[in-house]
Amino acid sequence: MANIKLTNINKSYGSHHIIKDVSLDIKSGEFIVFVGPSGCGKSTLLRSISGLDQVSSGTMEIDNAVVNDVPPSKRGIAMVFQSYALYPHMSVFENIGFALENQGLPRAEIKKKVEAVGEMLQLTTYLTRLPKALSGGQRQRVAIGRAIVRGAKVFLFDEPLSNLDAALRVQMRMEIAKLKRDLPNTTMVYVTHDQVEAMTMADRIVVLQAGRVMQVGTPMELYENPNSVFVAGFIGSPKMNFITGKPADKLKAKTIGVRPEHFEFSKTATDISGTLDYTEVLGSDSFLYVSTPTGMLTVREPGRTQYKTGQKLHLKPIAEHVHRFGPDDNRL
């Protein structure tokens, strides 16, 4: 059981201000996902929690103890790297057991623990192999096994699925979700640039942009009540439509946001009219790209669409799903 508390964390490399005054409270046993575009500082923040990077200012607490000056190995954390960072010259057994060996545990105990983890992750038959003889998914599991075997209170994941192909990624997503169920007391912090991973796995999501926390909340909170244009645009696929001008003015907003599934078609002319430029048919859904005076809008229709390219369309947002944003791009 360990909570993580960040208070006014700042981090600079020379003149580059990477993390700007980040405060965050991560509860014990929670699965937190840091998400944001590349360069937003999410990996740096994770590395600051791990101790691989030192923070420039602010307080970092793990399990109610200030750890600013504590080296990584003494923070009670485990980390799964994007590249897995398996030691290529050591067998799976040695890879998993390396941390225990460093703690000076007796050989028999190391063997017992490694074998238990191997069983849990279905790696028993691979323990004597070298990493290069494993598939991508198996390597991923070894990397997770290395974290589990130490009984760390906090697991840190740095984009662990980005090296896998699409099918394997879905499978590993489920395995990590299962891991979370099996280890309910372990706090997990997960970094990704993929909002789908964030939505499917997180208890809470932290959206970062340019070194600042934009919003913290459960996936559905972020989806339904994004507090800024940035979060609204980042969460959800396809992206939310942003409309300015007359339709927004009517609702006393600078910008209004409407998700593609939240449009209705009208027979008569509306504020938002345009021509159908292009259609993507996916089978389950169709995406209609409509060219309007306020810009290109995306509309989702279930199943097939009856509309033809070049046809004039009249769109009407569903009132209760319209998001209103003020001049500072924040929610009204």
């Binding site: 990584p72 954390i77 790297f81 590249s83 030691y87 290529p88 390396f98 460093n102 703690q103």
Partner: protein, 386 residues
């Protein structure tokens, strides 16, 4: 690669051109190897390139005398073989004669008429028959015969026996090993630790230290000799030990080899994945352990490259050895010995060629068996000044 971009009109011309270049490049070494296996008289008598073909030699011998004559059907014959006897050589007779002016007067197997009705046949295998209608007397038997024999190529290991056991090359060989092995291993260890520190550890002035080391790559070695010699003498006097010791030469070779070693290894170690090092840090390994368990096994190829370089450099070095080691038999290394032989036995090619081959056989073996690593090292560190 650019098989389609022929620079030559035909591939035959290309093959011939490359063969010619290779011939040019290997000919000198081939001469050394072949000569070292030849008889010392042959080396001085003919060029080594003739060693593989049969050589024609003029010889003479005395035929058997009257005691061996046989009478048959009123004719007297003496038979035997020219290759029997003290100075005989095995070979093939191509021609013979009885006058010193014309040693090849008669072809082998032909019947030569001699004075007094005698006739002589010498066959290619050396057997001869001397016949006469009258009995041989002491005056007309035991005559001299000249013949031209073509000798097959002869090779011998005698030169090697001589240089290894009586010229002191064997002893020098061991001295060379005594210098070379530690002078290869010590710099590897020291440089690998330093390279790791410069690649992955937090320390002040890191950039400056790296720049200085790169700069030291091109300091001429000869420049260091005088100050070091003075230092060695002072240290020797101060501690009451001889100034010319194996320890001294190891440290000298280590010092001179370090810039290149650190340069080569640092660029390799810095290229290892950052995640691996950090993962080991999180796993609770300290830098000594990370170095031993993670970095050292992974930078084996770079270590091997440098080891070969340093081995060849130390084994082939003459200057450092003659300055920092004595010239007594217990310290003189192979290159030094060879250099001394060049002075003292300048004309004795059988000694020089065999000695030279003994000195180059070890580097050549190392080179051909570990060429892959050697080339890799060359590519990685082609700024080495030599």
């Amino acid at each position: 690669m650019f098989k389609k971009f022929s620079l030559e009109p035909s591939r035959i011309a290309l093959n011939l051109a490359v063969l010619l270049i290779i011939g040019l490049w290997t000919f000198p070494t081939a001469g050394l190897l072949i000569s070292s296996l030849r008889d010392k008289n042959d080396i001085a008598a003919s060029g080594w390139w003739t060693a593989l073909s049969s050589a024609n030699v003029n010889k003479k011998t005395h035929l058997k005398d009257m005691a061996d004559q046989v009478e048959k059907d009123g004719k007297f014959t003496i038979s035997g073989n020219v290759f029997e006897g003290a100075d005989a050589v095995s070979g093939k007779v191509s021609a013979f004669g009885t006058k010193v002016q014309a040693p090849g007067e008669n072809a082998a197997g032909a019947n030569a008429a001699l004075d007094g009705g005698q006739s002589l046949v010498v066959n290619p295998d050396g057997s001869y028959v001397l016949s006469s209608p009258t009995a041989f007397t002491a005056d007309n038997s035991g005559i001299r015969v000249f013949y031209i024999s073509s000798q097959p190529p002869r090779f011998t290991l005698e030169n090697y026996q001589t240089v290894l056991f009586s010229e002191g090359i064997g002893r020098s060989f061991i001295n060379s090993l005594t210098v070379t092995i530690p002078a290869t291993i010590i710099p590897i260890l020291i440089a690998a630790f330093a390279a790791y520190a410069l690649a992955w550890m937090k320390l002040p002035f890191r950039g400056l230290i790296i720049a200085i080391i790169v700069g030291l790559l091109v300091v001429p070695l000869q420049m260091s000799l005088i100050p070091l010699l003075k230092l060695y003498n002072a240290a020797g006097t101060f501690m009451g030990v001889p100034s010319k010791t194996y320890l001294g030469v190891w440290l000298a070779h280590t010092g001179f080899g370090l810039p290149f070693a650190i340069y080569l290894l640092r660029s390799y170690i810095a290229g290892l994945p950052k995640d691996l090092i950090e993962s080991a840090q999180i796993d609770g390994a300290n830098d000594f352990k990370i170095f031993r368990r993670v970095v050292l096994p992974l930078c084996f190829p770079a270590l091997a490259s440098f080891a070969i370089f340093q081995f060849l450099w130390v084994w082939n070095d003459l200057l450092v050895a003659i300055v920092f080691l004595g010239s007594g038999p217990d310290q003189l290394v192979l290159t030094g010995k060879l250099n001394a032989l060049l002075g003292s036995r300048g004309g004795n090619w059988e000694i020089l060629t065999a000695s030279a081959f003994v000195t180059i056989i070890v580097p050549l073996t190392v080179f051909f068996s570990l060429q892959r690593y050697f080339v890799r090292g060359l590519l990685a560190g082609s700024v080495k000044g030599g």
